[in-house]
Amino acid sequence: MIVSVASGKGGTGKTTVAVNLALSQDKVQFLDCDVEAPNASIFLKPLIQEKKIVPFFIPRLIKEKCNFCKLCSKVCEWNAIAVIKDKWLFFPELCHSCSACWTLCPQNALEKEEKELGVIEKGKVGKIEFIHGKLTIGQTVAPPLIKQVKKEIRKGEDVIIDVAPGTSCPMVEAVKGTDFCLLVTEPTPFGLNDLTLAIGVVKELNIPFGVVINRFDVGDKKVENFCEKNNIPILLKIPLEERIAKYYSKGEVLVAKDEKWREKFKQLFQKIKEKVKK
């Protein structure tokens, strides 16, 4: 079973939930797919045993062959290439590596150049197999790296995926193909707004989902009311506690400190399993 932990709004506690869920189990695979800001390793502290570079291809000009016909700049949907008179300009942060420019260049004046998109690191913590992707600073396109991280999934095992905030391509790429999506939210208008957007995505993807309300005892009741009205299961509520916030700030994990919470996260995983079976 593959469980993704997403949120829409950032900072609601995705990583906290994903990490505690993983540590409440005996054996799981843990994938941190928030490649722009990966933080799960701070809490799981895995021993990294393997590292590999994920490449990304950008065009490189072979000046002698170019006749400045501008076709490359015309076919680039992201305006990453500009040709002004006899100057060929390239803006790497806009490039999506679609290959159109070097595939279509009539002079064969463009070749592909390999760049580092990011790295994938693999390691172990007890029986947990840990994998995360880290987008290289200055690179902007996260989905291809997320896709590579997800290729590490072992079929048939229990897998937990920590997802990036938001509802656009990085979130979709990470949630796609999972058996269940846990949406972590907070009881504020921001939390509710972004939860509604995230639900829109998981419904579009046809993925069953449930909600975790973090800091449930502050803010208002609108998230709870919304879930009740729409028959959305609230699978766990976590209070705002100084103790929990302090653990988080130091990279410590709740279930390692508190048996009661270990039990709660175990039950959460069990509830998800039952829902997926149905």
Binding site: G10, A37, I137, G138, G166, F190, G200, K250
Partner: protein, 287 residues
């Protein structure tokens, strides 16, 4: 004209709450919500939409089965594995690069423009707001951010306003880089947690990479004073100014559930600290 972009790396550090408070401190500005896939600033600024525009942010290939000879060229060139062996397009994988349509020898593929979001020019009691809404699960948020940012510049020029304040999105990817483009200063809002520290290093690295000056606000600084000291020290060593330290204060949430910024809701000490921080930023911006 000057542009301030507020970003964080890590989500939920308080960007939007701070931007909404800044809104009430200075008049001659345009506000922009560049967190286009999970926009929240409108929930505090209550805009009245004046103009609404369609965002044609994507194209999707339509394969004409009658013309298609199933040569497989399109599948071969697609870098996003968006066309399967039965020549069906997966819209969630497709990036809309059009290469398949351009390369098809039978000219069997047409690209259809999709409306993938909307952007708006609105009025608020604190001045104009340019904001957007990306369609569910749509990509190309960077393009929409650029659209929103350019529109804000036009609005500022038209109305003779000399400052643009951008509320950015978390992360370090396309939309973040698009919201940083052309910024005179980035305010990075962080928190004294190990995640906050790690993400601050990454987003600070992005600002350095693109040559953008940045300053730091440590929000909820009192939840871990050791980490706060560590951030201050790192910033000092890096030559980066910490322009404000804001305490953990549940009145942020009280204000938020009432649809207000903290500055609007309360005249507390925290509000004063936000105002002091704003004054420091304002001086650095030299508007």
């Amino acid at each position: 004209m000057k542009t301030l972009t507020v970003i964080s790396g890590k989500g939920g550090t308080g960007k939007t709450s701070l931007v909404a408070s800044f809104a009430s401190f200075f008049n001659n500005k345009v506000m922009v919500d560049c967190d286009v896939d999970a926009a929240n600033l409108h929930l505090l600024l209550h805009p009245e939409i004046k103009k609404s525009f369609n965002f044609k942010g994507g194209k999707l290939p339509i394969i004409d089965k009658d013309r298609c000879s199933q040569c497989g060229k399109c599948i071969e060139v697609c870098q996003f594995d968006a066309i399967d062996k039965d020549f069906r397009v997966d819209p969630l994988s497709c990036e809309g690069c059009s290469l398949c349509a351009r390369i098809c020898p039978e000219k069997a593929i047409k690209m259809e423009e999709k409306i993938t979001g909307y952007w708006y020019i609105s009025d608020t009691k604190y001045g104009p707001l340019v904001h957007a809404r990306l369609g569910i699960g749509e990509g190309n948020s960077g393009k929409l951010v650029t659209q929103v940012r350019n529109t804000a510049e036009e609005v500022a020029q038209e109305k003779g306003l000399n400052l643009i304040i951008i509320d950015g999105s978390p992360g370090i990817g396309c939309p973040v880089v698009a919201s940083l483009t052309g910024a005179d200063l980035a305010l990075i809002v962080t928190e004294p947690t190990l995640s906050g520290v790690s993400d601050l290093e990454r987003i600070g690295g992005v600002c350095d990479h693109f040559g953008i000056q940045w300053v730091v606000c440590i929000n909820k600084f009192d939840i871990n004073l050791d980490n706060t000291k560590r951030i201050e020290k790192e910033c000092y060593l890096h030559g980066v100014q910490v322009v404000g330290k804001i305490p953990f204060d549940t009145s942020f949430i009280e204000a938020l559930v009432r649809g207000k910024s903290l500055a609007e809701y309360s005249t507390s000490k925290t509000t004063q600290q936000i105002k002091d921080m704003w004054n420091r930023i304002f001086n650095i911006l030299n508007v």
